[in-house]
């Protein structure tokens, strides 16, 4: 550690250069940078510059605090990682030492220099420029107080799968109101479709339905199924959410859920959602017997009365007169302080993988179809049979990674398919005794008790073949292949191409973001990654928050994951929300615009620029005013004001212009010969 004292300027600035172990120091000569700052920036007010192994450690922070107190620092510049990581850390350190936290500036020489450049000399020079920019900028910082926003105690949870159920219950159990919105007629999500859950093989319904019932009966939960969020306004602490409650054509107060209408409805439809296209439902239906709520919905598109004007069988036979064909969609508006998105996933459309023949070859099934096939409450009552509905397969091939880890489809690993495929192998062995082949690229069984399950499936007698299946065909070529589906694959461990005739093929298709994920994310003011999953605030340290304050994400909406992780995220998001609610308010960055009325010429150029309606024009005085409660701090009006009457905190014109000058410190005096690096 080195220390250099410079002379005193108007402000007394301390510069702290972090090594971040070797993350920064490996590429940037941090000692030279600190030395340079003390020497060359002292005329700008730098009185001390230090480098230290880990500035964010308690010792590093103490260093800053000590200097503030002993050297009377009035400004602090820390050159380390991204402000999105440690800005708060150093602000709090300043505050502890009695300096207003907003007089601290964190500049990023790790993400913006050491990690992205290989030329050490150039990276070191760039780090100097970045620090110079920070020093120029910090001079113009003003002491500020955070904005305090009250938190509305209610929470909106979007999506009634296991993630949303978990989150809703945690918050409701803590005594706060929850609105749970689900677009299907029942909560339960994908988990309700499954028969067994790995690795313990508990029955999915047995562990899920009690929670569904709790949601349905919880006094703190307002359950809105067959509903969708249409619009979200406002900001953390106080969102106004508009929800469309689609017409069910059932009077919920009268319906007892007896099921007579479903029994009597003459119209049978393939159930593409809950039964994954493998079973049927009626035009009036609950997706499954344990549905929550118990009220059915009438599917307008398929209802004979709605389409042809006659029938009304359900109405005639309903014992409580609960059918109401006149119902219309309702729009509800609710106030909430926080939002949890748990919108789940879709599965990849297996028809896209032409070489596996799904949709063309009858006995190729998707994983979701297989879940329904093996589910005791499914279309075959749990009989694992071929598409003809009766024949038990003698041999089954299960194909892992169908459409995952493949640049032609989804480049990512879907995380659950290995275990899911092994679960299928176990079920087939257990229920039919059929020969089972699993075709895999790699077996990824990384969570608790997962690898033990893999071994159990091996012990069950499943045959595992390492090789990604090339094609599934019904074109028989060799004896024994007639009438079978043939799986052609390179057995990579044997180094030979093999053709394996089977009766049934199950594709472990990958998980995909919901088809409308981007649209939904946009509605909530957050964004999706290139793959389409919702982006979390930090992939490791803040996995359930998003970049928009007050909007959290849980479960597969954020990326493929298994049930344990999904439940953990649902609970984690709830914990984050509860912490907020219990503090009653939240401190926000005081980045706001304000108008200096004495400078405002009343030109009204700024008036049309604010999408949040924070700009008000006073006709009487011919001046503009900004409502700080509505202003979000984007700064567009600041940039537009020709009179310079609008200023924005934290990003004032002075701060930005000074930073530009600082960043170009070396360029302004660019000499023909390169400056020798300070030693």
């Amino acid at each position: 550690m080195t220390q250099h004292n410079g002379h005193t300027g108007q402000e007394r600035i301390g510069v702290y250069v972090c090594h971040c172990g070797s993350n920064i120091a490996g590429t940037i000569d941090v000692e030279a940078v600190a030395l340079w700052a003390a020497e060359h920036l002292n005329h700008r007010g730098v009185v001390v510059a230090r480098d230290y192994k880990f500035m964010c450690s308690s010792l590093g922070q103490e260093l800053i605090e000590k200097d503030i107190q002993e050297l009377g620092l009035t400004r602090v510049v820390v050159a380390a990682c991204s402000p999105h990581l440690h800005e708060q850390t150093f602000r709090i350190a300043c505050q502890r030492a009695g300096l207003n936290p907003y007089l601290c500036e964190l500049v990023s020489i790790r993400e913006q220099a050491s990690w992205v450049h290989t030329d050490k000399k150039a990276a070191t020079e760039k780090a100097k420029a970045i620090i110079s920019g920070g020093v120029e900028r910090v001079v113009w910082h003003a002491p500020l107080e955070p904005l305090r926003v009250p938190i509305h105690p209610a929470t909106l949870v979007v999506g009634g799968g296991i993630a949303g159920i978990q989150a809703a219950l945690e918050i409701a159990d803590a005594g706060f109101p929850v609105y749970l919105v689900e677009r299907e007629p029942s909560i339960g999500g994908h988990m309700a479709q499954f028969d067994k859950t790995f690795p313990t093989m508990d029955c999915a319904a047995c562990i899920l339905t009690p929670r569904m019932v709790s949601v349905g009966t919880h006094p703190n939960i307002t359950l809105l199924t067959w509903s969708e969020v249409m619009e979200v306004q406002g900001y953390v602490g106080n969102f106004t959410v508009t929800i469309r409650k689609k017409a069910r054509y059932i009077k919920e107060d009268l319906c007892t859920g007896c099921g007579i209408c479903q029994e009597k409805c003459p119209k049978k439809v393939i159930d593409e959602v809950f039964e994954a296209g493998l079973g049927y439902r009626k035009a009036v239906y609950t997706p499954f017997p344990q549905a929550v709520p118990k009220y059915p919905v009438i599917d307008r598109e398929n209802c004979t009365y709605f389409q042809k004007g006659t029938c009304r069988a359900c109405e005639k036979l309903c014992p409580t007169e609960a059918i109401d064909f006149e119902q219309t969609d309702e729009l509800l508006t609710v106030q909430v302080g926080n939002i949890i998105l748990a919108t789940g996933f879709d599965i990849l459309d297996a028809r896209r993988i032409g070489q596996y023949g799904y949709g063309r070859l009858a006995n190729v099934f998707t994983s979701l179809e297989f879940e329904r096939l093996s589910n005791a409450a499914g279309p075959t009552n749990g009989q694992i049979v071929l598409r003809d509905g009766v024949t038990q397969p003698q041999t089954v091939g299960i194909i892992h990674c169908a459409g995952s880890r493949d640049r032609n489809f989804n480049n990512y690993c879907s995380a659950i398919c290995c275990m899911q495929s092994l679960k299928f192998a176990h079920l087939v062995r257990e229920r039919t005794g059929a020969t089972v082949y699993n075709f895999y690229i790699d077996i990824r069984t990384t969570a608790k008790a997962y690898d033990e399950f893999y071994q159990r499936v091996l012990d069950d007698g499943a045959i595992l073949i390492r090789g990604r299946v090339a094609e599934v065909t019904d074109a028989a070529r060799l004896p024994g292949e007639e009438g079978k589906l043939i799986i052609q694959v390179e057995d990579t461990l044997a180094g030979k191409q093999r053709r394996i005739p089977v009766d049934m093929v199950v594709l472990s298709v990958g998980l995909e973001p919901r088809h409308d994920a981007k649209e939904v994310a946009h509605r909530f003011g957050i964004s999706c990654s290139a793959d389409g999953w919702i982006i979390e605030k930090h992939p490791k340290l803040d996995p359930v928050a998003t970049m928009t304050e007050g909007v959290f994400v849980a479960g597969c909406a954020q990326g493929p994951k298994d049930i344990p992780s999904t439940v953990a995220q649902g609970a984690a998001a709830a914990a984050r929300v509860l912490a907020r609610i219990q503090q009653h308010e939240i401190a926000l960055e005081p980045v706001r615009a304000s108008v200096d009325e004495s400078k405002c010429s009343g030109c009204r150029i700024c008036n049309g620029l604010c999408p949040f309606n924070a700009i008000i024009f006073h006709e009487d005085r011919m001046v503009t005013e900004i409502n700080p409660a509505l202003c979000q701090g984007c700064g567009t009006c600041v940039a537009a004001c020709p009179a310079g009457a609008i200023s924005g905190t934290v990003f004032s014109n002075e701060q930005v212009l000074a930073q530009i000058e600082g960043l170009l410190l070396d360029v302004a005096r660019r000499a023909p010969a390169p400056e020798p690096a300070p030693v």
Binding site: S82, P83, H84, S108, R110, E111, Q112, A113, W115, V116, H117, T118, D119, K121, A122, A123, E125, K126, A129, I130, G133, H522, G525, S527, C528, S529, A530, I535, M547, T548, V591, L609, P611, F612, Q632, G633, C634, G635, T636, V638, A639, A640, G648, V650, F651, N653, V656, L657, Q659, I660, E661, L663, L664, V667, A668, R670, P674
Partner: protein, 156 residues
Amino acid sequence: MSDSFEPILIGFTCNWCSYRAADLAGTARVKYPPNIRLLRLMCSGRLDPTFVLKALASGADGVLITGCHPGECHYLEQNYKALRRYLLLRRMLAQMGIEPERVKLVWASAAEGVKLAQEITDMVEEIRALGPLNWPQRHNGAAPHADEKAVKEGTA
């Protein structure tokens, strides 16, 4: 390093998308040339054209403006305002005799670290090909090579 021209660029980034894309490029160790120095704004809508002129006048050879993709602005629609200002700015630069290609606007979401790095790499090469700007010299008497071509392109 040889004594060939090494351009210096200033990059304006949006707090919600491109600044995070730069963070992501760092975390993922994506490499780009060290010729750019980034500066954070809350939104590309905050970009006062004066900032660009200030950067060029202070010795930068080019300016890269980055913001959220159309339709994805954290403040709903302010990036469109940035786009409008950018188009005007290019026109103005052309009239001042500065190649409008020295200023470029690109969209980069928080997920597009690789894209941002590629845009930076491309732009550094483009500015290298254009040569140094030398704003002060140009404006101190020497005939600014304001030509019709530059004016035309600025209006495009």
